[in-house]
C-alpha cells in the first residue's frame, strides 16, 4: 500500500471515530475539539505536505477531501497550508497556525483566529503572505456553518513571505477539496435516507422522482471529484490559477444543486437541527463563498480565455488531460 493510501485510511479511521453529531454541535458552541486535535497532531497530519514529513501537496489535498467527508470541525486547510508556507520560509510550524483573508480595512478574517498561534494573511492576486504580529485585536464571529471565523486586527504589519503557486488559489483549492469530500457525504446521506425511509408502503428509493434526484446528485458529485483532482494536478504548473478557477467554479455550482436536491430527498427530517445533514450542507454553502465564489473564478478564467481568442479556446480545453 502506498503512503498516501495509508494516511487516508488512518484519517478515515480517526475521523469516523470522532466526528459525530455531538462533536459538530459542540464545535458550533465554540468548543475546540481537543481530543480530535490531539489525534491529528499525534499522527502528524498537521504537517502533511511539509518537506520534513516526506509527503507532498497532493497528499495534503487528498487528506483535505477526507476532512470534508467527515466535516472535521478543525481549521485543517489553514493549519496545513500555513505550516507548509512557514516551513518553506525556514520558519517553525507551531501547533495551530491559521490563515485568513486580508481585507481593505486591515482586518484579517481567520478561521479559529482566537486560538491561532501564528496567523498568515493572504490577499487575492498576490504571491506575498503577511505574517501577522500577534497579539491582535480579536472580534469573534462565525460563518453560516457555525464555524468560528474571527476578525483579527494587528497593531503593526508583520514580515512578508513569498510562495510560488498563488496562495489565494491554493486556499481556494483547499476549499474545493473540502467541498468534494462534503459533497460525497451529502450523496451518501441522501442514498441512505432514501433507502431507509418508507412512504405509501414502500421505500421512497423506489419512486422514480427520488431516483432521478439522486441520479442528478451523483452526476454533480462525480463531476466535482474530477474537477477537484484536476486542480490538484495543476500544482506547480503555469495553469495553476486557471485550473483552480475552473475547479472552484464547477464545484461551487455542484454545491448549490446537490444541497438543494439532497435536502428535498430528506424532507422535513433534514431540516431539523437534530439531523446531521445540515452540518454538511451549511459547510458546503460556506466553502463555496470562501476564497472567491463561482463568479469571481469564472471571471478570472473567462478573461484568460478571451485573451487567447475564439480560435484558441478549444486548444486550451484540450491541452491538459
Amino acid at each position: 500500500m502506498d503512503t498516501r493510501q495509508l494516511i487516508l485510511d488512518t484519517a478515515v479511521k480517526i475521523f469516523s471515530d470522532h466526528c459525530d453529531k455531538a462533536l459538530w454541535d459542540a464545535a458550533e458552541q465554540g468548543e475546540f475539539a481537543h481530543a480530535l486535535w490531539q489525534q491529528v497532531a499525534e499522527n502528524g497530519f498537521h504537517l502533511l505536505g511539509t518537506d520534513a514529513s516526506g509527503t507532498d501537496a497532493a497528499d495534503l489535498f487528498a487528506f483535505l477531501k477526507v476532512c470534508g467527508r467527515y466535516a472535521v470541525p478543525l481549521p485543517m486547510a489553514e493549519v496545513l497550508l500555513a505550516n507548509v508556507w512557514l516551513t518553506q520560509a525556514g520558519k517553525t510550524a507551531s501547533a495551530l497556525d491559521s490563515i485568513g483573508i486580508a481585507s481593505a480595512t486591515g482586518a484579517v478574517q481567520v478561521p479559529w483566529g482566537r486560538r491561532a498561534t501564528q496567523v498568515l494573511a493572504v490577499s487575492p492576486d498576490s504571491h506575498g503572505i503577511a505574517l501577522l504580529q500577534l497579539p491582535a485585536e480579536i472580534a469573534t464571529g462565525q460563518n453560516i456553518a457555525g464555524e468560528p471565523v474571527d476578525s483579527l486586527t494587528a497593531a503593526e504589519s508583520g514580515e512578508m513571505l513569498q510562495v510560488t503557486d498563488s496562495p489565494y488559489a491554493q486556499m481556494a483549492l483547499a476549499r474545493v477539496n473540502l467541498m468534494a469530500g462534503g459533497l460525497q457525504t451529502a450523496l451518501d446521506l441522501g442514498l441512505q435516507f432514501a433507502q431507509e425511509r418508507s412512504q405509501f408502503g414502500r421505500s421512497i428509493s423506489k419512486f422514480q422522482a427520488i431516483q432521478h434526484s439522486l441520479a442528478v446528485v451523483a452526476a454533480e458529485v462525480a463531476a466535482a471529484q474530477r474537477a477537484a483532482d484536476a486542480g490538484v494536478d495543476a500544482l506547480g504548473s503555469d495553469r495553476f490559477v486557471e485550473e483552480v478557477a475552473a475547479a472552484k467554479a464547477r464545484v461551487g455550482e455542484a454545491v448549490g444543486i446537490v444541497a438543494e436536491q439532497v435536502h428535498q430527498v430528506h424532507g422535513a427530517m433534514g431540516f431539523t437541527y437534530e439531523h446531521r445533514l445540515h452540518h454538511f450542507t451549511r459547510r458546503l454553502w460556506s466553502w463555496r463563498d470562501d476564497w472567491g465564489n463561482e463568479f469571481y473564478w469564472q471571471t478570472k478564467l473567462g478573461a484568460s480565455l478571451a485573451g487567447l481568442g475564439a480560435d484558441q479556446v478549444w486548444n486550451y480545453i484540450a491541452t491538459r488531460a
Partner: protein
C-alpha cells in the same frame, strides 16, 4: 462510488492531434458553417478523405482496414473533428457502434464484407432501434423477422432513423421469436441493405427544418439468413453493450461547442465581467466533462463495463449542451436588435443549435432513461 480516474494522453496521441488539426485546416471548404453537432453535416467526400487518413475504424484490426489503435487515439480524432465543426455524420454511426458491434458479435464473413468499406469512409450505417410505438421501452419492439428457408422475412416500421435516406445499411433490432414472459428474450439484430432490399424510407422534417431522420418501413422484406448479427435471440445483450459506445463519446457534450467559440469571438479580448464569467463558466464545464469523457475512454480501453459511467457523462454533457446557449445569449449585447448583420455568425450558430437542442437529451437514450441507469448503478433499483 463512481470513479472517474485521471487519464493522460501519450505524446503519440498529441502528435496525432496536430495532424488532425492540419487536416481540418486544409479542408475548411467542407465546413462553410461549422457545427459541432455530430448529426449535422453529411459529407461523403469528407468521410472518404478521413478514411484515407486511416481515421475511421482506428481501433479495429488492420486485417479489416483498421489501424489497431487505442480508444484514446480515436477520441483525439473525434473530439478534434467535433470541436472544429467538421461534417462527420455520414460515417459516424458505423465508426462508433456498427463496426464495433460486428467486431464483437458478427461472423467472420460479416466482418470481411462490411468493415473495410466503413474504414474507407464509403459505407454508412443507421441504427434500427426505435419504432412508432417503441421509444424508451426498447424491449417492446414489434418488427418481426421470421425464418423462411434461407431467409428472414421482415415486417414492421423503424423510426427516428438518422440518415437512413443516405446511408447504406441499417442494423435492426427485431423479434425473431414471439414475445414471452422474459421480454428481453427472442430479440435479434439483423443487417438490412437500405438500397437493395426493398425497404421504404421516408424522411421526417425536424423542427429546425432539416431532414436527417426517417421512417423506415419493412413490408415482407426478405434478407439472407447470414445477415443476423451474433446469435439469434441474443439481441438484447448486444444492443445493451452497443449503448455504452453510443453514450460515452465527446459528441455527448460538444454539440453546442461552436456557439461558445462565436461567443468568445464577440466578447473580444476585453470582455465585460459578465461576459468573462459566462466564458469562464462554460469553459469550466467543458474542462471537467472532457476529463470525465477521457476517463470513460480509459475504462473502455481496459475492457471495463462502463454502462453507468457512460450514462452519467451523457446526462451531464447533454444538460450542459442545452444550458450553454442559455448562458451565452444573455451576455451578447444587442442580440435582440433587429439587425441580421450584427453578430451574424453567432446568430446563425446560436439559432441552429437552439433549435436542435431539444434532441440533445432525447437521442441515444432520453434523460429519463439515463437517470434510471444511474439510479440502478447507485443501488436504488
Amino acid at each position: 462510488m463512481l470513479q472517474f480516474d485521471r487519464v493522460s494522453l501519450s505524446p503519440e496521441s498529441e502528435a496525432l492531434r496536430e495532424q488532425v488539426r492540419e487536416f481540418v485546416a486544409a479542408h475548411r471548404d467542407h465546413m462553410p458553417r461549422p457545427n459541432s453537432d455530430f448529426v449535422t453535416g453529411h459529407d461523403a467526400e469528407f468521410s472518404q478523405k478521413l478514411g484515407q487518413q486511416g481515421w475511421i475504424g482506428m481501433t479495429w484490426p488492420a486485417v479489416y482496414g483498421g489501424s489497431d489503435q487505442s480508444n484514446f487515439e480515436r477520441l483525439v480524432v473525434t473530439e478534434e473533428l467535433l470541436a472544429a465543426g467538421a461534417p462527420v455524420s455520414a460515417h459516424w454511426i458505423a465508426d462508433r457502434q456498427s463496426g464495433p458491434l460486428l467486431l464483437r458479435f458478427g461472423s467472420e464473413a460479416q466482418r470481411e464484407k462490411y468493415l473495410p468499406g466503413i474504414t474507407r469512409g464509403e459505407s454508412y450505417f443507421s441504427i434500427g432501434m426505435s419504432e412508432p410505438d417503441t421509444g424508451s421501452d426498447l424491449a417492446s419492439v414489434r418488427t418481426t423477422a421470421v425464418a423462411e428457408g434461407d431467409a428472414y422475412r421482415i415486417n414492421g416500421t423503424k423510426i427516428w432513423t438518422t440518415d437512413a435516406h443516405r446511408n447504406h445499411y441499417i442494423i435492426c433490432l427485431v423479434r425473431t421469436e414471439a414475445p414471452s414472459e422474459n421480454r428481453h428474450a427472442g430479440l435479434s439484430q439483423i443487417i438490412v441493405d437500405l438500397r437493395n432490399d426493398g425497404v421504404k424510407v421516408r424522411p421526417i422534417r425536424n423542427m429546425a427544418g432539416g431532414e436527417d431522420f426517417n421512417e423506415v418501413v419493412f413490408e415482407d422484406v426478405l434478407v439472407p439468413k447470414d445477415r443476423i448479427v451474433g446469435e439469434p435471440g441474443n439481441g438484447w445483450q448486444q444492443v445493451t453493450s452497443e449503448l455504452a459506445y453510443e453514450r460515452s463519446g465527446p459528441e455527448r457534450f460538444l454539440s453546442a461547442f461552436r456557439v461558445f467559440v462565436e461567443l468568445v469571438r464577440i466578447c473580444g479580448d476585453n470582455p465585460s465581467p459578465h461576459q468573462a464569467a459566462a466564458i469562464g463558466r462554460i469553459a469550466a464545464h467543458f474542462m471537467t466533462l472532457r476529463r470525465m469523457s477521457l476517463s470513460v475512454a480509459g475504462m473502455l480501453e481496459q475492457g471495463k463495463d462502463v454502462v453507468v459511467e457512460a450514462a452519467l457523462v451523457k446526462e451531464l454533457g447533454n444538460n450542459f449542451e442545452k444550458v450553454l446557449p442559455e448562458i451565452a445569449r444573455l451576455v451578447v449585447p444587442d442580440l435582440c436588435a433587429n439587425d441580421p448583420a450584427r453578430h451574424k455568425l453567432f446568430r446563425e450558430t446560436f439559432s441552429e443549435t437552439l433549435m436542435l437542442s431539444p434532441s440533445f437529451t432525447l437521442r441515444g437514450g432520453t434523460r429519463e432513461i439515463l437517470r434510471g441507469v444511474i439510479a440502478r448503478g447507485l443501488g436504488l433499483r
